[in-house]
């Protein structure tokens, strides 16, 4: 009991929710994995593979939300195009998985994916070369979103595009990419995207063990990124970033090259989004240009807003809650979900500027004095 109290108080110390967060994350992951693998299906405690995949999907969404929170919550840059980085990472993973299909496709071509055979292409486009190597594909997962973010961020931040202007052009960016990826000539499968994946590094994607492993890897990466982000944001670099959020001109006048900090953070955030996409694709089994849709990008902003921006665990909580709600509601009331999502946007911005996490904080500070008098030991 004492140890638990100690643990909680550690959690309440300023700025370090890291330990409880990671502990809860890993604990739940472990329980769910064991529940799937060890407990027989007949038992009530069995966790179905469907649930595992769903949880894995949620966790990759949480990682995506984390990437948005890093730049929005800590640097005040509202990107409405983060879905683009997510989808690019996803496409890189999808290309690797496509190449792994080999001659098991419908047309049985050992080199070309089905859709290229269908389009009567003779050889692999240059950007598909090397994607059959896992390490190269993983490099691309990080490199492509990072490069796009660097070029875009460098151009935008150097010409001091800020505020709503930046939001709108990030939205235009993902919209332009969506239109481009819808074209068959782009060589990414057009409208249908990439799907029918068979295995990853030789492991069958349909098997329970692979699913659990993917879920566990997602959890580990989420935990790792969380710790890393926390460290970055606590560092000197992080302090400057927060200062930029609160008064960019002042920071600039103090002699900091604010655009360099912003570009750096933007690239970091895009890379995380790309990794989230790469984790998402093998679990869901498809990547198509719909992931670039501006609606998806803006939806993930609301996850962060609901959870509470400016706190990393808030973003994660928001992503999990909203997506869980979405899964439930679209099953019960398919038409109602957009009402709820729209309502969330309005209500959260009007009444919960700091999200649910902020609400908890508000309630706590309101009730704390009475609580301490009643139960001093707690």
């Amino acid at each position: 009991m004492n140890a638990v109290m100690h643990f909680l108080s550690l959690g309440r110390a300023p700025g370090s929710k890291t330990l409880p967060f990671v502990a809860i994350l890993f604990g739940v992951t472990l329980l769910a994995s064991l529940g799937n693998l060890l407990i027989p299906e007949t038992s009530a405690l069995h966790v179905s593979t469907y649930t595992i995949t769903l949880l894995g999907k949620y966790l990759s969404y949480a990682l995506l939300a984390l990437s948005v929170d890093v730049i929005w919550g800590y640097c005040g840059i509202l990107s409405l195009g983060h879905g683009a980085f997510f989808a690019l990472g996803g496409y890189a993973m999808g290309m690797y998985l496509m190449r792994q299909i080999g001659d098991r496709g419908v047309y049985g071509n050992p080199i070309l994916p089905d859709f290229m055979v269908f389009l009567n292409w003779d050889e692999l486009p240059w950007f598909w070369l090397g994607m059959d190597q896992f390490w190269f594909a993983m490099l691309m997962v990080v490199f492509v979103p990072g490069l796009l973010a660097f070029v875009f961020g460098w151009l935008a931040f150097h010409s001091r595009v800020t505020g709503v202007y930046l939001s709108i052009i990030t939205q235009a960016l993902t919209y332009a990419l969506m239109l481009a990826f819808f074209r068959n000539e782009m060589g990414f499968g057009g409208n249908n995207g990439l799907t029918d994946f068979k295995d990853l590094l030789g492991f069958d994607l349909q098997s329970d063990t692979t699913r659990v492993a993917l879920f566990a890897i997602t959890a580990v990466i989420l935990g790792g990124v969380y710790v890393l982000s926390q460290a970055i944001l606590k560092s000197r670099f992080g302090k400057v970033v927060e200062a930029i959020r609160d008064g960019e001109n002042r920071v600039r006048f103090l002699g900091y090259r604010t655009e360099r900090y912003k570009v750096g953070l933007f690239v970091y955030s895009a890379v995380i989004a790309g990794i989230a996409g790469a984790l998402y694709v093998p679990q869901v089994g498809i990547i198509n240009p719909g992931e670039f849709a501006p609606l998806k990008s803006i939806e993930l902003v609301v996850w962060v807003a609901v959870g509470g921006r400016g706190t990393l665990y808030g973003a994660v909580v928001g992503a999990l809650l909203v997506n869980y709600a979405k899964t439930r509601f679209t099953a019960i009331l398919p038409d109602g979900w957009l009402f709820i999502l729209g309502g969330l946007f309005v209500l959260v911005t009007l009444f919960l500027p700091k999200g649910l996490v902020g609400l908890v904080g508000q309630l706590r500070s309101r009730f704390k004095p009475s609580k301490t008098t009643e139960e001093p030991a707690a």
Binding site: Y165, I169, D335, L338, F339, G342, P353
Partner: protein, 530 residues
């Protein structure tokens, strides 16, 4: 003298009356004549030269001629349906009581059809309406022979109308170019053909230019003329693209006005702006459902209704949500996005997710045929004009009214305007209402071009954001220039790169443009650091 006049008039009257009765009498015989007799009867009718011959022969040729069983009155069935409504040949009016049960078809055979075909051509060539004569000459261009040319030559001598003269000259020249014995005459005729835009001429010249049997001089002349015709076609092709670009630009303009105003005045981006377009379009649909018998007039009701509906929704959004988010533009963006989702879903729930079709009024359908190579559709033309009228009105409101003055004051310096006693709250609400109302009116225009669906607004919203960003915020002239240049750029890129890539390229261009000129083409001048 007086008497003579009287006699003359009387004689004229009786003779026309006689001719009329003769025509009608012969018409009456048509229903009883055997197929063998019909042709001589028709020839006699043609000799009478009556204006009602054209509809009669036309109906007979197309198998649409019937007679009423009761009294053998000749009627023509509707050419589109081959059925009711039937139009009386003599009266030229619809006879409502008829249907397929109480009429009988007048039969024709192939021999008659051949005769009718020629007769129709003759009738059309001598029709009183010059437009019909011109069309008839142009129709003949593909089937010229010595007989028709002899006829056309005679007609040319008497022709008074300049356009028909030109058409006849083209036909005569075309015949000379193809079949004259003298090389010189052919070359000259070919040279004169270079001003024609008829497809038949273009094809004939192309054949001549490739024809191995023709003299070299003729081939060269044909190639030269063809070249000059092709140049004209290319030119009109560009004019056509320009028109489509301007048309797209006018739609973008109507969508972007409201955004430009609200962003200029309040510094907020209204993501629900596209849904105001959608509401305007649905208002048009509802108004049409409410007055199904007056489609042509419904649009005049729809325009103010759409303005009111979208405008009041706009005011409602401003009062209920946006004013609480003052000074937090990013949150406003998110909240209005939520509203747009709710509005879309609302429309989906009420009207079903399927697209609805708004019927275009008669005067909006069809096209203005300028020449064979260029025709402009009326709906796009009117929408272009409409957008310009709205633009002029807005400029007037902004420059000449008290509201405009206050709006400009608030957009330049909110705090100072407030200090001068301007009710900024009220200005905000009205601006928002105005911007949304104009988007609603834009929705009416849009409903004439595309189907009306819940996603209507979304497909235009990103483009209209780009217009605002490109043109510079809060600047109506900037919006005008930006909308038209983006529209035209899009349409000129489309044939080269394809639709999707064109849109993508324009977006990429704007993203790059913003890097260079972050405040748009025509930035508002100010002294603030931020």
């Amino acid at each position: 003298m007086k008497r003579l006049c009287l006699w003359a008039t009387l004689w004229l009257l009786t003779s026309t009356a006689l001719a009329e009765s003769l025509f009608e009498q012969r018409l009456g015989e048509l229903t009883e004549a055997s197929l063998a007799e019909t042709q001589s009867l028709l020839e006699a009718l043609e000799a009478e030269g009556d204006p009602r011959l054209l509809p009669l022969f036309d109906a007979l040729f197309n198998g649409n001629l019937y007679y009423r069983d009761a009294d053998q009155t000749l009627v023509a069935a509707d050419p589109n349906t081959g059925d009711a409504p039937y139009i009386g040949i003599l009266s030229g009016e619809v006879i409502a009581s008829l249907n397929e049960d109480n009429v009988t078809k007048v039969r024709v055979n192939n021999r008659l059809r051949r005769y009718l075909n020629d007769a129709l051509a003759r009738l059309k060539l001598t029709a009183p309406d010059p437009a019909i004569r011109e069309a008839a000459v142009n129709e003949l261009l593909t089937q010229l022979n010595a007989d028709t040319i002899a006829q056309l030559d005679v007609l040319r001598a008497d022709e008074q109308n300049a356009k028909v003269q030109q058409a006849l000259d083209t036909a005569l020249n075309l015949y000379t170019a193809q079949s004259s014995d003298q090389v010189g005459a052919r070359v000259q005729a070919i040279g004169e053909l270079s001003s024609s835009l008829q497809n038949a001429v273009r094809n004939a010249l192309a054949r001549l230019a490739e024809d191995e049997d023709a003299p070299e001089a003729v081939q060269n002349a044909a190639a030269e003329s063809l070249n000059s015709i092709e140049q004209k076609f290319t030119f009109y092709g560009y004019v056509d693209q320009l028109f489509f670009g301007l048309s797209l630009g006018s739609v973008l303009l109507l969508a972007a006005f409201g955004l430009a105003i609200t962003f200029g005045v309040m510094g907020v981006i209204n993501m629900a702006h596209g849904e105001m377009l959608m509401l305007g379009a649905y208002t048009t649909f509802v108004v049409q459902q409410l007055m199904p018998n007056a489609i042509n007039q419904s649009i005049w009701v729809a325009i103010p209704m759409a303005f009111l509906v979208a405008g009041s929704v706009g005011v409602l959004i401003e009062r209920c949500v946006i004013r609480f988010l003052h000074g937090r533009p990013l949150e406003t963006l998110l909240a209005t996005f939520g509203i747009s989702l709710i509005l879309q879903q609302l429309v989906r729930t009420i009207f079903s997710p399927l697209n609805r079709r708004v019927v275009a009024p008669d005067w909006l359908s069809g096209s203005w045929q300028i020449n064979p190579a260029l025709s402009l559709t009326f709906n796009r033309l009117y929408i272009l004009i409409f957008a310009l009228i709205v633009f002029a009105l807005l400029v007037l409101i902004m420059k000449k009214t008290a509201l405009g003055l206050q709006v400009r004051a608030v957009s330049q310096n909110r705090a100072m305007a407030k200090a001068m006693g301007i009710k900024t709250d009220w200005v905000d609400a009205l601006t928002f209402g105005l911007g949304s109302g104009i988007a609603g009116v834009g929705g009416v225009a849009l409903s004439q071009l595309t189907n009306v669906g819940p996603n209507l607004g979304q497909s235009y919203i990103i483009d209209s954001f780009m217009v605002v960003v490109f043109g510079g915020v809060g600047n109506l002239y900037g919006t005008l220039v930006a909308a038209f240049s983006l529209g035209v750029a899009n349409k000129f890129l489309e044939p080269i790169t394809g639709t999707v890539l064109a849109t993508t390229l324009v977006l990429v261009f704007i993203i790059l443009f913003i890097q260079k000129r972050p405040k748009g083409l025509f930035p508002q001048r100010g002294r603030a650091a931020e």
